[in-house]
Amino acid sequence: MSQLSSELPSFPMSKAKGCPLDPPPEYARLRSDRPVAKARLWDGKEVWLITGYEEIRAIFTDPRISVDNTQPGYPWLSEQQRTVVLTGGVKPVGRMDPPEHTAMRRMLGQGFLVKKIQNMRGDVESLVNGLIDDILAGPRPADLVTALAMPVPSTALGWVLGVPPADKRLISLVPRLFDEDSGLEGAMEARNELFAYIDELITHRENEPGDDIISHLVGYYQKGELTRVSVLTQSVTLIAAALDTTRSMITNGILALLQHPEQAAALIDDPDLAPAAVEELLRYTVVTEFSSKRVAAADIEIAGETIKAGDGVICLISAGNRDEKFFTDPDTLDIRRDAKHHLGFGAGIHTCIGKQLARMELEVVYGTLFRRIPELRLAVPFDQLVFRNTFDVQGVRALPVTW
């Protein structure tokens, strides 16, 4: 089956009015009519949109699929995205193909050992409890973006990266890097500051190594297995990949629970539901809608279509996560369901490297927040919330709550 180019839908697609956390309604139609379909991008280029769960999984695990963004067919979503690429001229792990990719995952692997993340849990619990103490002691309403969603992931990432505890520069750079109102110029400026800052940390770890990711990478650099600029790039990539996603997932999850009080009540009644709630919220409120961009390295036959070598591909995770062929009643939020096979962290070799860290943070945040403030509610009507969608991540600008 082939589509006439004149009738290609344009991408990104708009969301329904009033439901910024739901995927655009067009995804459901595409998924049932044509789970592998062509669309047109802002720059006139064509791209394949993958909307079916099984098809997305097949693309993610296909060795003929590349993540190389220097290919002409790579689907950029805006000029800003192409310009403010957060790298220092070498490829970040997310844009490497095997075997380079496999080797890089191993250089990073030591920092994300399951045991290490599990050992951090107590510290994350103390951090979250401290922040909730402050919220309870402070004025109402409180903004959960600044009071909780920003400090938790930046502090925890600081620990794994090896940022000295007193150093708060990372936290202050995040909004400037990722929020729309900083503009292209502001984002570039913040990007340069971030590079200079991480460069400083690398120098520090060259002299005083610890058991943290930057120190490990510096070790590979000193053995001649990595260039210094690659150490810089991978570190910055982790910051870019970790902070905007986790802070948005924290607020989107809280918001979804507040919008479904019976689900929040279930979590309050049974705190053991927290891990399942995390998986279901990752399925239901996707934050990284457009992140999974690919280029075909060879012709790929899938769902009756042929993706030609060189064609751009976007796997729409939020569409796959609402596929009725895989999840029963997919548009219903149900924290008791078994949602762990969701695509919220991707699948295949590029599956999120920080997912165990993110899961642990989310579990602690949702569980502790609703346990300690069960009366939590929005302080403004839902339709007054301001949503943002920068780079690939969508979330809320502020989340005013009261109790």
Binding site: R57, T102, L113, K115, H341, I349, Q356
Partner: protein, 85 residues
């Protein structure tokens, strides 16, 4: 007797830690780079469910389950179950 023999293709592992979370009795990670290790390649029968889930859930399709070497009446074992899902 074990229900299967666990094969890990180290060269494919992308250090996701998924298998360690799913079946900690059978999988661990190397300290130096996070690559998975098999603690026992002939897991006890009660671990069948977890081990199958770990094999199916490996994002890099690095884990395969083959018939145990001591399976009665089999020569060379049956074809491995391929992950991922």
């Amino acid at each position: 007797m074990s229900f299967a023999r666990v094969h890990l293709d180290e060269s494919k592992c992308v250090t996701s830690g998924q298998c360690v979370l799913t079946a900690p009795e059978v999988f661990d990670q190397r300290e130096k780079d996070g690559v998975a290790i098999v603690l026992t390649d002939s897991p006890a029968p009660e671990l069948r469910g977890k081990v199958q889930e770990a094999a199916a859930g490996c994002p890099a399709a690095a884990i395969r389950l083959a018939a145990p070497a001591d399976a009665p009446g089999r020569v060379g074992g049956r074809p491995p179950i391929e992950g991922p899902l």
